[in-house]
Point group: C2
Chain length 456, copies 2
């Protein structure tokens, strides 16, 4: 019989509830603030999100039931396999045992479908007809387009201009699912027009695209459109925890009790939260686990940004969120990991850092693509540019284990495949990629705008 390389779960073993980290954090979460500087009420969010998701956003319940119909839709691709990376271990000559959770087997190619299906379902249930959203690399836009097709909602996606131009197939994929996809900033919204007036050739950013998508939702005169966000918010983190909850049971099938290190790439925080929150729970309750979010050195929110109240978008349409941030006007260098080009960070992930439960790391894209190429050639799967950050982090840990002679268990999230994002690989292979590191001067410039904001 072949070595045990991957495990699934029986249908009966599938998680039936999502895990909410909020009630377990040692320091209670700070609330989001409205324009008046006071905590936002559920009613204030009602034009943007359906009330059932607002309730989840503000919930302090530890376990939240996954609706039967959502479980049914998730079961097309869940559980995703947990895979032992034997060949990577061998290539690195490490005594560590490396496992990766392969979220790329989702039909959308990434973990994003976990929350897309849930959000589309709750919106439909609430009587909404149409969703708007933004997308960076296109993973989220593809996932929400697919979920809307499955559930029967219209969908409009504002895609960051630089990615829209670099990845024409992403738009075609969304069109195939029946969704509309336009480049952001666009002329369709005031937020977009304002940006284009000042910087007509801007590559765009997630912050701008979010502004446009929110505006498009709240200005629909029928009142039947809502906005959907693929990361950052508490209910998004919640929906992703199914990843880590599955992993916990799958590790036992490999005969492992607990990982020593948990690694994921981090942009807005959702795939990191998905795999790590169930293990942060264990850490809070005494387990010794090193939990590492890896971000690009060109967008170093967790490693260099301060913890402040800031808007989630560029046009300041969102409430103020308590989070690590580079400032809402920050437009990152056009590195290829579009999904990691975000100025802010999930408030839940930010709170975990404040409570010293996680140890962030910033890695340059050159080291990341190097890791992605090695992984492709020894394990066979080409990772998304975002995912290469997690792999680079895992490789660093595996080498450390080799130097220390330690039999560590390293777990990372293989958040998505790169089959629709090959341009960056071409640039790497032909020596055209450059290092991007943010200067202090640049950082100060954007943060200065936040001087008069309420402080957390």
């Amino acid at each position: 019989m072949a070595r045990l390389k991957k495990v699934y779960l029986e249908p009966s073993e599938m998680p039936k509830q999502w895990y909410n980290l909020a009630p377990d954090l040692p320091t209670p979460m700070l609330p989001p603030l409205g324009p008046d500087g006071k905590p936002v009420s559920p009613e204030m969010l009602a034009p943007v999100f359906p009330m059932n998701l607002i309730e989840q956003e503000m919930s302090t319940q530890r376990w939240i039931d996954i609706p039967e119909e959502v479980l049914d839709m998730l079961s097309v691709y869940r559980p995703t396999p947990l895979v032992r990376a034997f060949e990577l271990e061998e290539a690195l000559k490490t005594p560590a045992r490396i496992y990766y959770k392969n979220e790329s087997v989702s039909p959308a190619g990434s973990h994003k479908l976990n929350t897309a299906i849930a959000q589309a379902w709750y919106n439909k249930k609430f009587g909404i007809k149409r969703l708007t959203t933004e997308t960076g690399a296109g993973q989220w836009g593809s996932a929400l387009s697919m979920a809307c097709a499955l559930i029967g909602l219209e969908c409009k996606v504002f895609m960051v201009r630089i990615s829209f131009d670099q990845k024409p197939f992403r738009k075609l994929l969304m069109n195939t699912y029946g969704a509309e996809c336009i480049a952001s900033p666009s002329n369709e919204t005031k937020a977009g027009r304002d940006i284009l007036a000042v910087t007509p050739h801007t590559p765009g950013s997630l912050g701008i695209a979010i502004s446009e998508a929110i505006e498009a939702a709240v200005t629909d005169p029928t009142g039947q459109t809502r906005y959907s966000l693929g990361s950052v918010l508490n209910h998004v983190m919640l929906h992703q925890t199914i990843i880590g909850l599955e992993v916990k049971k799958q590790l036992l099938k490999f005969g492992e009790k607990m990982p020593d290190v948990v690694i994921a790439c981090v942009g807005g925080g959702s795939n990191f939260a998905g795999i790590s929150f169930p293990f942060i729970y264990e850490k809070i309750h005494g387990a010794k686990i090193d939990i590492i979010p890896v971000e690009p050195s060109s967008c170093p929110t967790l490693t260099r940004g301060p913890f402040l109240y800031d808007h989630g978008d560029t046009a300041k349409m969102t409430p103020l969120l308590p989070m690590f941030t580079l400032g809402h006007s920050f437009i990152p260098e056009p590195i290829h990991a579009g999904g990691l080009r975000y100025h802010g960070m999930s408030p839940l992930v930010s709170a975990a850092l404040n409570d010293k439960l996680i140890n962030p790391l910033a890695i340059d894209q050159i080291e990341c693509y190097e890791a992605g190429i090695l992984f492709s050639r020894v394990e066979g799967i080409v990772p998304a540019p975002e995912t290469t950050h997690a792999i680079a982090g895992a490789i660093r840990e595996a080498k450390k284990a080799r130097e220390e002679g330690k039999e560590k268990v390293i777990l990372f999230n293989f958040s998505g495949h790169g089959l629709m994002d090959m341009v960056g690989y071409d640039k790497y292979l032909t020596g055209k990629l450059v290092k991007h590191e943010m200067s202090d001067k640049e950082l100060f410039k954007y943060l200065k705008e936040l001087e008069d904001y309420p402080k957390p």
Copy 2:
């Protein structure tokens, strides 16, 4: 608990042997013929293939052991899931139960990796250092590039020009795996130069690319290069039977004994053989199963071609194979299902048709893309253009079941995803696709060249 949508297999349930249809065919297979019109000997094939694969090619053993190391490598993505297409059934309001075998979860995105891993392994074992091959849509070239990276062989891929130009990401993917990929016809071979001299703007064809790849292998002065083919040959069909062997056990887990209809798209024959041969075995032994290969109406080898001895390639480098053929000079219209643009057909599949064990069907690409879009929107996975042919066939059968009011079990092979082949979807959605049907005149022209060949 959610409805049972998909099943895998336990590691202990995995097939340990491939199934060889040859010994079970009612009419014995005809041998391939050499330039002298006599059956080719194993030695004559030795410059092209390693002897261990030549033995498999000529084997009349019913069951052939899968080497332990090959099973280990396959276990990264096998077993692939068998999925019940509940949403498609509902959309079609059919009483039929539709199941699809999802080969798209392979890291190469299609079933091609099943034989790529096996062939690379046998070549490596035989001491070969380098493989050459051709690719149409790019699925096979990607799969062999990946397998060579995993096993440690060099790889050179001749990619049909029309696909090379339409699908730039495919080349990047092969490069990422460390393989070389060039457009065919190329200036690197005599076969390529001869074609370019006459038709410099030809879109290319699988037949031409095969000629180039064989030439590149047999002319290597070191003798350490061999050629690898992704379809047509007996040993390729053999390696793919793991698909149908898994399905047999998986259907039982769904509570189904036997399908009523088995459907797959067919170009050279490999994914069709993979899912259907184990069921053809059942049919030979009395089961009532309708087994349907679906081909494009622009390349109607099984439905309109005669059964003749013909070369597998355009430059007539291969032995004469007993098969249904449109003539080795036939260059199909540039439809997007590049993997189905082949003039010939697997001799084993051809023999099964001669024995009336299968019922081929030709469908136009417009109906196929329509089926692909419907499938994408209700089941969530975007099929490869090739795979849409199988879906279109399954939809026809499901509608027939509705009209007849019959509770049929329809099984089809979801051979690959279309994430790297979105251009055709764009053309379909923007109304730019046209119907392609082969004229009788065209057919006669190419077949005339075969007049003086030995007859089967």
